[in-house]
Amino acid sequence: MLVVKNIVKSLGGRIILHHINFCLQKGEIIALLGPNGAGKTTLMRCLSGFYTPDEGKIIWQDADLAEDRLRILKDFAYVPETGGLYPEMSVYEYLAFMAECRHLKPEEFADNLVYLTKALDLEAVINQKCETLSKGYKKRVVLAGALLSRPGFLILDEPTEGLDPQQKQHLRAFLRQYGKDKIILISTHIMEEVAALADRVLLIKDGRLICDTTPEDLKKIVPDNNMESSFCTIVGN
């Protein structure tokens, strides 16, 4: 279980996150929604350990991220919206480097490499330089790097951005399977993705958590049962 307690984060003298509180359970796929500049990326960076919150705590299985950072981060993984690859490395070198960073044993790396390259369809590009990959492949390589240690908490920023419809479908199926016994937090602007993947929706605006509901209940906010209209209604007000 992940508990976010009263998180406050300022950047450049401006408060980006105001006292955010929520709790995520194993087996949940959570969509993090909000207009641009709402603080979604800052929140994800706090959860990934990249930023240290000014106030509040992030608690993972009864341990505080601020106090036990290195141990807890072994169970967390973060995939940013863009970049995240070293262009001069081949896909294999990148994954091997990520495995080293996550302190995986060689046999664990070998097992997970076989599983992930197959699951994310990376076999054809395993020896290719990262800089030569298409956007869709780049996204999947970063995701594979994040999943090497089979983290219990996966944070994804716009995971299907740049993927073609078939790849999107494939990735969503993979995430649904992976999320059965893990926690996945996804930041997205695509309502179709929320409907297809999420069990729960967290909506933030101006750095405040303004809605914590299910996709079904979110739709019911407007008479036409449309998630996009509901989102606009909440954010607009």
Binding site: S48, L70, L73, G83, P87, E100, C101, R102
Partner: protein, 243 residues
């Protein structure tokens, strides 16, 4: 921590060879080192047994070359948005900075080794004090570590490679070519205590004294302290930029 340092050292070290930039750096270093020794110093008139004419130029040459090794330490991490990935891994921030520093320092070691050809050639022609020269190589390696740390610290404050290169070069050049103690002696001729203190902080003086056999352990400690200070600033700057 040691394991994390080695991971980042290996990654950065491999990169130098993958990018092929290293060959240009090695060539440039060899050309400048040999050129300065043979054509700028009094090498042909007064070759010392410790090859002083070669080593005395090392701080300036290293200050010129090392920024090319450290400029992309953090700039590339920003450019490719890999900093978020790296700092959300279960690794210590300090291990990342130290690993990068050690990779650059290792390259300076290779640069120095590549220059031993001059030692061998001169040694065939005239008698040299090989023990002294070997010690001077170690001193030069120690000095290059200090410059790598200072250069890494300067680069950590910049977001792009060009800015990092210029900042590193200015910091390195100021340290390695400006004789602070001479300035202080000229500016404050009557203040012996300050003049004496300025000698302690004078990079070129400490190095010159070491390679000419006039200084002891204290000068070595000076370079180690400077390296540690540079690394500390580098780690602090990286952490500051992250947050």
């Amino acid at each position: 921590m040691i394991r994390d340092i080695l991971i980042f050292w290996a990654k950065e070290f491999r990169f130098y060879f993958q990018s092929r930039m290293i060959y240009l750096v090695l060539l440039l270093y060899a050309a400048i080192s040999v050129g300065m020794t043979l054509y700028v110093s009094d090498f042909y008139q007064n070759t010392t047994a410790g090859l002083y004419q070669f080593f005395k130029f090392q701080p300036g040459i290293m200050a010129l070359i090392i920024p090319a090794l450290t400029m992309r330490f953090w700039a590339d991490e920003y450019k490719h948005n890999t900093l978020e990935i790296v700092f959300s891994q279960p690794v210590d921030y300090a291990a990342v900075a130290i690993g990068k520093f050690l990779a650059a320092w290792s390259i300076t070691g290779i640069m120095l080794i590549s220059s031993t050809g001059l030692w061998l050639v001169v040694g065939v022609m005239i008698p040299l004090d090989n023990g002294w020269i070997a010690a001077n190589y170690l001193i030069s390696f120690l000095m290059s570590g200090s410059l790598c740390a200072v250069s890494a610290a300067a680069a950590a404050f910049c977001y792009n490679a060009l800015g990092a290169f210029l900042a590193s070069m200015i910091a390195g050049m100021l340290l390695a070519t400006v004789k602070i103690s001479l300035w202080v002696e000229n500016l404050l001729p009557d203040n012996a205590a300050i003049a004496e203190l300025s000698k302690v902080f004078d990079f070129t003086r400490q190095f010159d004294d070491l390679i000419s056999g006039q200084a002891g352990v204290a000068a070595g400690v000076y370079f180690l302290v400077l390296t540690a200070a540079g690394l500390w600033i580098s780690v602090a700057a990286a952490e500051y930029k992250r947050s």
